[in-house]
């Protein structure tokens, strides 16, 4: 479903089937739509068999890194005598991304069901859903759905009467993009500042409260119940392209586009057709100029690159970017790329947790220089400085926030250098003067 628009005939709704249908929010409504059958099935299976189905399905993490989900789950060693934890990452703060919000708003039970199945599969008795503090509506809706699930005996010490404990709790964030990074998120649940941790140890060895932990994105977990119900082959069979990218993916589309919203397509869908047919293309009287296809942390694409892309993990890499979180940001001829990139840099400078020098200093400096260029007082040498700073910010820090800040800057200067030069040579923003005239 292209929420808030009608489902486009070329979409393949799996996760989004019930977006916009408020009856799917209640437990009875969810049951009437086939809900909790997958959990019932799972609780009757051996945990290792569930992990194998997820492995076979080819499901990969939808939070940004695309790590194979079944493989991640298999790192959790059964019978090690330690408490295991599951964390559901509902921090969704990556600019351009707003899909997890719709999953939580419309089908909270799909997420709870996915959390319960995953908990059982990895031997965790407790799952924390970390929801960003600004998501007041999802917090309320998922909270109400959890209450219902507890009242009905789906969750708790004796989940669905099986004698197995599955507790799912919400942990509310308090405003910090960095808490979406997995180890920062764990620190935040523990009551600490949201600083990412140095890895190793990896979460599966020593994660939340120092215990073996798995962390998954909302969309990843919500995909698990339909995979169990319909089977791994069904999920794999939906891919239009690479066997390494299977199933469907929710793409959030925003910025300068005719129909912004959430659209679900099979992996490998042609990006050009996606943008033009499904999302309606440019607004009347405008032409599209650039796309950041995977949330603000991935390289910017020109329209030529975007048009040649197949929408899957490999496809976006082949045309110079990444699938990331699936947050597609579109810019048309009405916006100034220098301004957009400067504002993104400011985002990263604001959100840096400040542990690493390259990130703390780098994000602040690139922001200052980009703003200077935007206001017309930059020099050509500034472009070299920006590239040099970006180089120093890449691959050298505890987490990749620093790299994420560099990605749009480097690709922006490479692909839209003429806009930077127009600011430098004209000593002002050409778009602003056009607007003022």
């Amino acid at each position: 479903m292209g929420f808030p628009h009608k489902t486009h005939p070329r979409e393949t709704p799996v996760l989004s089937t019930h977006f916009g249908d408020s009856e799917a929010r209640s437990l009875s409504g969810w049951r009437a739509r086939g809900g909790y059958r997958a959990l019932e099935q799972a609780l009757g299976m051996a945990p290792a068999d569930i992990v194998n189905v997820v492995k076979d399905s080819g499901l990969r993490g939808r939070g940004g890194a695309g790590f194979p989900t079944g493989l991640k789950w298999s790192f959790m060693k059964p019978g090690d005598g330690k408490p295991h934890y599951l964390c559901c990452n509902a921090d969704e703060s990556e600019p351009g991304t707003f899909k997890d919000r719709e999953i939580m708003r419309w089908t909270p039970h799909s997420l709870i069901e996915g959390c319960a199945i995953a908990s059982y599969a990895i031997g965790a008795e407790i799952c924390y859903i970390y929801i960003r503090g600004e998501f007041t509506e999802p917090l309320q809706i998922v909270g109400a759905a959890l209450d219902e699930a507890y009242r009905d005996g789906i969750l708790g010490k004796n989940a669905m009467g099986t004698g197995k404990r599955v507790d799912v709790y919400i942990h509310k964030g308090a405003g910090a993009y960095i808490c979406g990074e997995e180890t920062a998120l764990m620190n935040s649940i523990e009551g600490r500042r949201g600083n990412p941790r140095i890895k190793p140890p990896f979460p599966a060895v020593a994660g939340l409260f120092g215990q073996p932990t798995t962390i998954n994105n909302v969309e990843t977990l919500a995909a698990v119940p339909p995979i169990l119900t319909n089977g791994a082959e069904w999920y794999k069979g939906m891919s239009l392209s690479s066997p390494k990218s299977t199933g469907t993916k929710l793409f959030s589309v925003c910025g300068n586009i005719a129909r912004p919203g959430n659209y679900e397509v099979t992996m490998g869908f042609p990006f050009r057709e996606f943008l033009h047919d499904i999302c309606g293309g440019a607004r009347p009287g405008h032409t599209l100029k650039a796309v950041i296809p995977g949330g603000s942390s991935v390289p910017i694409q020109t329209m030529q690159e975007a048009d040649a892309t197949l929408m899957d993990y490999e496809g976006f890499v082949a045309t110079g970017s990444m699938l990331g979180s699936g947050g597609v940001i579109v810019f048309d001829d009405s916006v100034c790329m220098v301004r957009m990139i400067a504002r993104l840099a400011r985002f990263y400078a604001h959100e840096s947790c400040a542990q690493c020098t390259q990130c703390r200093e780098g994000t602040a400096w690139v922001t200052k220089i980009l703003e200077r260029i935007e206001h017309g007082s930059g020099t050509t040498a500034d472009l070299d400085t920006l590239l040099e700073l970006s180089e120093n910010m890449t691959g050298k820090t505890i987490c990749v926030l620093s790299d994420s800040c560099a990605a749009p800057i480097v690709s922006g200067i490479q692909k839209f250098r003429h806009e930077f030069e127009a600011h430098i040579n004209g000593k002002r923003c050409p778009m602003r003067s056009a607007a003022a005239a």
Binding site: I126, A174, Y177, S188, R343
Partner: protein, 185 residues
């Protein structure tokens, strides 16, 4: 500007922040008695450590008092067996905890690039004008409004998203601003 003038400006914006009086010096009335205490105890049963209840405890404080004062930080520290300095270190990390009183209606407008490309700056200007706050982060003289710009609210397809306290408004345009404000007491 002379240092004395700068001091005067600072004092003025400080008063605007805090409203009348000097709430920072106010004696702290304990939050964690009765129902909030019971609520915190229930939360503690969800975590293996007391420290893990810190973010939820601070949320309770903010709900009850509107902001998190130094006195409240000391109380939270005592209840959770932490030090006040530790609690302050955590409070200052997270942007949603108010370390000063804010207006009765706290308005947050997303201006990150995707919303910026869709006119978010004009929405900010409309809020500053119609609330009479004029300046970001400064509370209106009647103590009713504080307007700030925030980073991505995770609703980019509904540009421009605006939060007024806990209420989320989608697809806000400058012309809708007077209407949104007129519904607030």
């Amino acid at each position: 500007m002379t240092p004395a003038e700068m001091g005067a400006v600072h004092a003025e914006s400080h008063a605007a922040h805090g409203g009348a009086g000097h709430p920072h010096a106010e004696e702290h009335r304990p939050v964690f008695t009765g129902a909030p205490r019971a609520e915190l105890d229930a939360l503690l049963s969800r975590y293996p450590t007391r420290m893990a209840a810190l973010l939820p405890a601070l949320w309770i404080v903010q709900r009850e008092r509107g902001w998190v004062s130094e006195g409240a930080m000391a109380e939270v520290a005592q209840v959770l067996d932490l030090t006040p300095a530790y609690v302050k270190g955590v409070v200052t990390f997270y942007t949603m905890y108010h370390q000063h009183p804010v207006g009765r209606y706290f308005v947050q407008v997303c201006t990150t690039s995707p919303c910026g490309a869709c006119g978010a700056d004009d929405v900010v200007r409309a809020f500053l004008e119609h609330t009479g706050t004029r300046e970001l982060g400064v509370t209106s003289p009647d103590g009713k409004f504080t307007v700030i710009e925030v980073e991505c609210l995770g609703a980019c397809g509904f540009a421009t998203p605006v939060m007024v306290n806990d209420e989320f408004h989608e697809s806000v345009t400058p012309d809708r601003v007077p209407d949104i404000l007129s519904k607030l007491e």
